[in-house]
């Protein structure tokens, strides 16, 4: 926590928490997917969640903006409880939490620019000019402004994912959730997406990333969580995580993904 504390003071509010997850439990039917999860994310903090498939890491971050329901415990985003209250959920989704998906999920019937402006207009009630200006600004940042008038289907996977990142940023989120953003990409396109994410991290964005990109984790993560069978097995700083992991299962996982 020491390194992230330093970051928090750097980016303003001392110890200001964006996401608080306490005693979270979730079941899919009778299957207990998340067990007693406790995790806090401070402003400006970057958290990477890794673990074998089926460990519940995607489910965990999908609970934060309530794409998944949970049965026990409490998640708070910027002090708003993520519960059954529709107004709370609307508040959390419109401008507090942005999300980037494994399969991009761009709207295929809308041009790139419209993909970026539609939620700004409908949810944040910006007018067309303002929304367009914001959109072009973020498209430039992810180096894809020249594709603004194409349809998503005409873009490569890496380009689509960068559009998806820009789309989320347009809503001025306080925290960005990344759900395996590079897992569906061809190998030669992974780095263009990771570069954008690194820049985002360097700009002070609060991020929670589910990813297997250990190079990225080492470079930007304040904290790495290793999950297995629905539990957070180990939380550690990036350096300690790779060099002196405390848990046997963490070491096994690392040896499996780094060996080749």
């Amino acid at each position: 926590m020491n390194k992230s504390n330093a970051n928090k003071t750097k980016s303003g509010g001392a110890g200001e928490l964006i996401v608080e997850i306490s005693n979270l439990n979730k079941w899919f039917g009778s299957f207990h997917v998340l067990k007693d999860i406790n995790l806090v994310v401070g402003k400006g903090e970057r958290i990477v969640i890794c673990g074998p498939s089926g460990s519940g890491k995607s489910t965990l971050i999908r609970c934060i903006n309530k794409l998944e329901e949970y049965q026990e415990g409490l998640i708070k985003v910027d002090n708003i409880p993520v519960d059954d209250n529709v107004k709370n959920i609307a508040a959390i989704r419109s401008g507090k939490v942005g999300m980037v998906f494994q399969h991009f999920n761009l709207f295929p019937h809308l041009k790139v620019l419209d993909n970026l402006t539609i939620a700004q207009k409908l949810v944040l009630h910006r007018d067309q000019n303002e929304a367009k200006e914001v959109a072009m600004n973020y498209l430039t940042r992810v180096r894809i402004a020249d594709q603004a008038n194409k349809f998503p289907g005409q873009l490569s996977g890496g380009q689509q994912q960068r559009v998806a990142i820009a789309r989320s940023l347009c809503m001025n989120p306080q925290v960005m959730l990344f759900d395996e953003p590079t897992s569906a990409l061809d190998p030669e396109m992974i780095s263009e997406v990771l570069d954008v994410m690194v820049e985002l991290a360097e700009g002070g964005m609060t991020m929670v990333c589910v990813t297997h990109e250990m190079g990225f984790a080492r470079k930007v993560a304040d904290c790495i969580c290793f999950m297995d069978k629905g539990q957070i097995v180990e939380k550690n700083t990036a350096k300690k995580f790779f060099e002196e992991a405390q848990n046997e299962r963490t070491r096994l996982f690392l040896s499996q993904i780094i060996s080749h």
Partner: protein, 384 residues
């Protein structure tokens, strides 16, 4: 391990330019060899098919054109060797306008012209989408009302035969012919599509009551033949109405058609909605869109695009099924033609009449199908 020396091969590498394929797949000779004469069986089938086509076409041509009678005014001019098109010519206006007063045909023509003026901007690509949607909604919501008012006239003014008032009242019992067919099809399609969409959304809703009601409505209307629904609308519906309230026969038929057709559209649209990946819902949810916004801007447009061919197919079926209204005493184009063939001056010209009706239906249905094909191709490029 085998160790080969690849050095010579590697150093000889040079980039190759694109060449054309030695087989010209576009040439007629190649196409015929590949598709018509590729084997003995294929050759045989080709020859047999050509023979059948020749016989059929010759027979048709002989009857409809070569031996047909084109000029004259009575049936005596026809020699019965070929088709007697005088019958169609003499009764043509009757087939189109039914028993509508001849001096008021312009009102119907005006309704057709109005339709043309509204449909052109909807289909033109270079007009802004917003405007096209505006004209589209005019066509759906405003045009049917104006059209009905124009054809019907002012109820308080009765028509006299020789010199009718331009806005006099023509009751629906005088309507008929192609005009009736088109009214039934147009209203049936245009009113049922929005209802069908709502029913589809209802059936996929999380709210149990709405879901149940939608399922019951859809399954009942789909499980019953149109002819039965028409009978029910005509005979059973009045029983439930308070005495004295009388529903127009045409309106009853329309209600029956709309019930039937909206249930079919609902299932078609539901198929499209189910084909939309879960990720689209999640992306819209995550961006803060509410249910209405998500449906209107994200899922429904994509779903409708997928189901264009099925919607048009269902519409074509409806256009043809409108002929069934004859059983409740409405005269669509087919009924008028059948009646005309029973005219004592024109006895025995059913064949010409049926060929004519078939041709009319074919023209309308085939244009719908071509338009759907055009839409499919237009939207095809935007797929993943």
């Amino acid at each position: 391990m085998v160790e080969r020396n690849y050095q010579a091969e590697n150093s000889a590498f040079k980039e190759l330019p694109d060449r054309q394929s030695p087989i010209k797949e576009t040439s007629i000779g190649y196409w015929m060899r590949a598709n018509l004469f590729s084997s003995f069986t294929s050759l045989l089938l080709t020859l047999i098919s050509l023979f059948i086509i020749a016989v059929v076409i010759w027979g048709l041509l002989d009857w409809t054109v070569l031996k047909a009678t084109w000029t004259g005014t009575t049936q005596d001019a026809c020699d019965r060797e070929g088709a007697c098109w005088i019958f169609i010519g003499e009764k043509f206006l009757n087939f189109i306008y039914g028993y509508y007063p001849q001096l008021l045909y312009w009102r119907i023509n005006l309704v057709v012209i109005l339709f043309t003026l509204l449909i052109i901007p909807v289909t033109l690509k270079r007009i802004a989408l917003r405007k096209r949607l505006l004209y589209g909604s005019l066509l759906v919501f405003v045009y049917p009302v104006i059209g009905a008012a124009l054809i019907l006239g002012v109820p308080s003014i009765t028509c006299n035969v020789s010199d009718p008032h331009p806005l006099c009242y023509v009751p629906t019992t005088k309507w008929g012919g192609l005009m009736m067919t088109l009214i039934l099809s147009y209203v049936g399609i245009v009113v049922s599509i929005p209802i069908g969409i709502l029913l589809a959304l209802g059936r996929m809703s999380n709210m149990p009551v709405i879901k149940m009601l939608s399922i019951i409505f859809i399954e009942i209307c789909r499980g019953v033949p149109l002819i039965t629904i028409l009978f029910m609308a005509s005979v059973v519906l009045p029983i439930f109405l308070p005495p004295g309230v009388e529903f127009n026969k045409l309106v009853r038929a329309l209600i029956g058609i709309i019930f039937f057709q909206s249930a079919y559209y609902a299932e078609v649209v539901r198929g499209g909605l189910q084909a939309i990946p879960k990720g689209q819902h999640e992306a819209a949810d995550a961006a803060g869109l509410n249910y209405t916004q998500k449906t209107y801007y994200i899922t429904l447009p994509q779903a409708l695009k997928i189901v264009i061919p099925s919607i048009v197919g269902t519409s074509i079926s409806l256009a043809k099924d409108t002929s069934l209204v004859v059983i409740i005493g409405l005269f669509d184009v087919l009924a008028i033609v059948t009646t005309s063939a029973a005219d004592s001056n024109w006895l025995g010209f059913d064949s010409e009449g049926y060929v004519f009706v078939a041709f009319i239906f074919w023209v309308f249905c085939y244009s719908m199908s071509r338009y759907s094909y055009y839409l499919e191709r237009k939207y095809g490029i935007q797929k993943h």
